[in-house]
Structures are given as structure tokens and as C-alpha cells.
């Protein structure tokens, strides 16, 4: 597990934004993931529900996050993912690991990756899989 010490010998914690876009109030999944990532030694900024692409981008930039996790259970994931990929690119943040989770139909997975999402975690994903993916792929900060 990553942790930081006074002499800085260990890698600092990975910073993650967990965000819920749009009119989607179901945040239990997002909170479960946030807690699991915390327990894996990561620093998770939870932005809450009803976020816009602009507010999510602002959080990614100001917090200097290495990972953005978008949780969507409303079916609107494609639109938000497209908007955010565009915003991340415009703001020189293409190295951010962009993960999308929630009720994502399998057939949408490929298209999400094509627009720039790094990985998709649909129904039934184990939190260990998300943690491992982040640990292996998060960019250094």
C-alpha cells in the first residue's frame, strides 16, 4: 500500500476524484468505491452528486488528481464522458486515468474507450479490480 512518511521514501498516496454527474442521486456505489480506495491507501476527494463536467474538471485540476472516477447510474454516461474527455484534453490533463463505473451496458464499453475513457467498470466489478487497475496505471504526480 502506498503511504507517505516524513522522509518521503515511500511513494505518496494516489489522489482520486470520485464524481457523480448530472441528475443522478444514487451515490451508494460511489461511496463504497471511495471507501475502498481510501482503505487501499489512496486520497479520495468525493465531490458529491449533481456535478457538471465543468465542476468535475475544476476538481481534477485544483486537486491535481491522478485519477478521475465517474459514477453513473442514470444512463447518461456517454454524454458526460465525451464532454469530460474533451475538457481534459483542452486543459492538458490527458494523462489523468479516467475511469467510468456504474450501470454501463457492455456494448457501451468500447465506445467509451474510443472517446478517451481509460477503463470501464460495469455491474459486478469487484473493488479489488478497480484498486489494482489504479495502482498499476496511475500517472505520477
Amino acid at each position: 500500500m502506498t503511504s507517505s512518511t516524513a522522509d518521503g521514501t515511500k511513494a505518496p498516496p494516489i489522489k482520486v476524484i470520485v464524481a457523480k454527474p448530472g441528475l443522478d442521486g444514487h451515490d451508494r456505489g460511489a461511496k463504497v468505491v471511495a471507501r475502498a480506495l481510501r482503505d487501499a491507501g489512496m486520497e479520495v476527494v468525493y465531490t458529491g452528486i449533481y456535478q457538471t463536467p465543468d465542476s468535475i474538471l475544476r476538481a481534477v485540476i485544483q486537486e491535481d488528481a491522478a485519477v478521475l472516477g465517474l459514477s453513473s447510474l442514470s444512463g447518461a454516461h456517454m454524454e458526460y464522458a465525451k464532454d469530460l474527455c474533451k475538457l481534459l484534453a483542452e486543459n492538458d490533463r490527458t494523462d489523468v486515468l479516467f475511469l467510468v463505473g456504474g450501470t454501463i451496458p457492455e456494448e457501451d464499453g468500447e465506445e467509451l474507450k474510443q472517446v478517451g475513457v481509460t477503463e470501464v467498470f460495469g455491474p459486478g466489478t469487484r473493488t479489488e479490480d478497480i484498486i489494482n487497475f489504479i495502482v498499476e496505471n496511475a500517472p505520477e504526480r
Binding site: M1, T2, S3, S4, T5, A6, D7, G8, P12, P13, K15, A34, R35, L37, R38, D39, A40, G41, M42, E43, V44, V45, Y46, T47, G48, Q51, S55, R58, A59, I61, Q62, E63, D64, N91, D92, R93, R141
Partner: protein
């Protein structure tokens, strides 16, 4: 491990208009370096650093969110550092303060909010907080810097070592708890905010505070959820800042805090050296001597 030039280059990038990204990255560099590896110049144009502290659940985040509104509406550029505790077991953290400030950030391009995890440091702030605040001051991008501490009890007074003004937030009806914080946090507070002032017992709490702190001491009331009393709080903070900036008040205040900061850094340094000196079976006094000598030797090399 990052060099000084790295941080300065990022600050320069920020000043060239490259946006929050460069400033945010510079903060990460400072956050990830031990305090003795970060030597930032003294800011030429000081900015008031306000510490917002108090027990958990007193409404610090909500109040800080409202303060963003009040300052921004008055034309001030606001930076917020929101500190949440790290798990002592995993080292991870869920940083939830931003959540309560989100609605106050809409359309405000010159407000900057950064969440910091305490990363095992005590006293309700993160070890890097002072240097991060100094970096924000050096950026020239802000008119005020608000630091919201972890929920603090009696002894978590480290915020006093780095903020120019300490606003202690409490709530009515804590009763004995008000007595309890008297010895620690109350002593370092420059003003007290009784939040949730629409709750029963608010007037009594204010009266108690005035009695114990003296009539000169500034006690005010707020209802942070509705924004009530927050403009008055800002006025009090501005007045204090004006007073500090008259004459050499601020210089003396900061010099005093700087000395205590040095003591804290020294303590962290000695601890980091001590961790490596465990191999010998010495009696206590000799071990202490050994650690101090080794810490001094390493500091100079």
C-alpha cells in the same frame, strides 16, 4: 523528491497565465516533500491566512463555503485549504470538504479550493500546510487564504503556528465542552464564532464566552446554512488584518510563528533521524544524545 527549481518553475508557469494546473502541481510537489526540503522565499505582499478550527460537526465546511461567497462578492480572490484526516491504518483518506463548498464555486474562476489529507501529522493540520499556504501567498493570486482544519479538540492548536488569525467555530449547547476547549484552542483563538445560532442556548453560549474571554474579545454568531452573520465575520477579519498591518504588528506576529514553525520542523527532522538509530542498545540518556548528535550532523551535511 523535488528540487526547489521545480516548484519555482511551476509558479512561474502559473504567473505566465497557464492556469490553476501549474499552481496545483506545485502544491503537490510541496505536499509530497518533507518540510525541510522546501525553502520558499518570504512573500513580499502578505495575504491574511485565516485558520478556521473547532470541534467536528460545528459547521466549519459550511461556514467556509459561505465565506467564499461573501469574500468573492466583495471582489476578493479566495483560496481555501481544506484538511481532512488520513486513516492511521491505511494512510488513505476520504476528503469530503469540497463537497460542501461546490455550490459556492460555480462560475467563480478566481476561487481555488484544495483538499489536503493530514497524513499522520497531529494538531488537526497536515505537515505541509504552512508551506502550501506560503506557496498560495507567493502566487499573488489571492487576497485571502482560508484554512479549514480537521475537527479539533482541546490540544490541536498547530493551526496557531501558521495562521495570522484563528477563528474558533463552536455551537450552542456544548456546555461543558466550551469549558473544555478553554484551556487549549480557546487560548490561541483570536475570535470565536458561535455557529448554528438559531439553536436554543445561543445567547447563553455567547454570554459565557464573553464572561470567560473578557469584553474586548470578539465573539460573533452565524447561521452558516443560511449565510447569516457571515458578512459581519468577514468585516471583523478585515479589521484585524488592517490592525496587524499598521506598524510592525504583522512582522512581529509572523516572526513569532516562524520560530515555532522552526521548532516543529526540527522535531520532525529529529524524529526522521531517530527512526534510523535503533540498532544500539544504549541507556536512555545516551540514546537521546546520540539521536541529537546524529540529527545535527545530518542537518549540516
Amino acid at each position: 523528491m523535488y528540487g526547489q527549481t521545480d516548484i519555482e518553475a511551476l509558479l512561474a508557469e502559473y504567473r505566465e497565465g497557464k492556469g490553476w494546473g501549474a499552481l496545483a502541481r506545485a502544491i503537490t510537489r510541496v505536499e509530497n516533500s518533507p518540510p525541510w526540503q522546501v525553502e520558499l522565499p518570504t512573500p513580499t505582499e502578505p495575504v491574511q491566512v485565516v485558520g478556521i478550527t473547532g470541534p467536528p460537526g460545528a459547521g466549519k465546511s459550511t461556514l467556509t463555503g459561505r465565506m467564499i461567497d461573501v469574500y468573492a462578492n466583495a471582489g476578493a480572490r479566495v483560496a481555501v485549504l481544506a484538511i481532512d484526516p488520513s486513516s492511521p491504518i491505511s494512510g488513505g483518506a476520504v476528503l469530503g470538504d469540497r463537497l460542501r463548498m461546490e455550490t459556492h464555486l460555480m462560475g467563480r474562476e478566481d476561487v481555488f479550493v484544495r483538499s489536503l489529507a493530514s497524513r499522520g501529522s497531529h494538531g488537526a493540520i497536515a505537515g505541509a500546510t504552512r508551506n502550501v499556504a506560503r506557496l498560495l501567498e507567493l502566487s499573488g493570486a489571492f487576497d485571502v487564504i482560508l484554512i479549514e482544519t480537521v475537527g479539533a479538540g482541546q490540544t490541536e492548536v498547530a493551526i496557531a503556528e501558521l495562521a495570522d488569525t484563528i477563528a474558533l467555530v463552536t455551537v450552542p449547547g456544548l456546555g461543558d465542552a466550551v469549558q473544555a476547549i478553554k484551556a487549549g484552542l480557546m487560548e490561541v483563538a483570536d475570535m470565536v464564532v458561535v455557529n448554528m445560532a438559531d439553536r436554543p442556548g445561543a445567547r447563553e453560549t455567547v454570554r459565557h464566552l464573553r464572561l470567560s474571554m473578557g469584553r474586548e474579545f470578539f465573539v460573533t454568531t452565524t447561521i452558516a446554512t443560511e449565510g447569516v452573520g457571515v458578512p459581519e465575520l468577514r468585516e471583523a477579519l478585515e479589521e484585524r488584518w488592517d490592525r496587524l498591518r499598521e506598524g510592525d504588528g504583522l512582522t512581529r506576529l509572523r516572526a513569532r510563528k516562524r520560530a515555532r514553525e522552526a521548532a516543529l520542523v526540527a522535531e520532525a527532522w529529529v524524529r526522521s533521524c531517530a527512526d534510523e538509530i535503533t540498532e544500539e542498545n544504549l541507556d536512555l540518556n545516551s540514546a537521546v544524545k546520540r539521536i541529537l548528535e546524529e540529527a545535527a550532523r545530518r542537518w549540516t551535511t
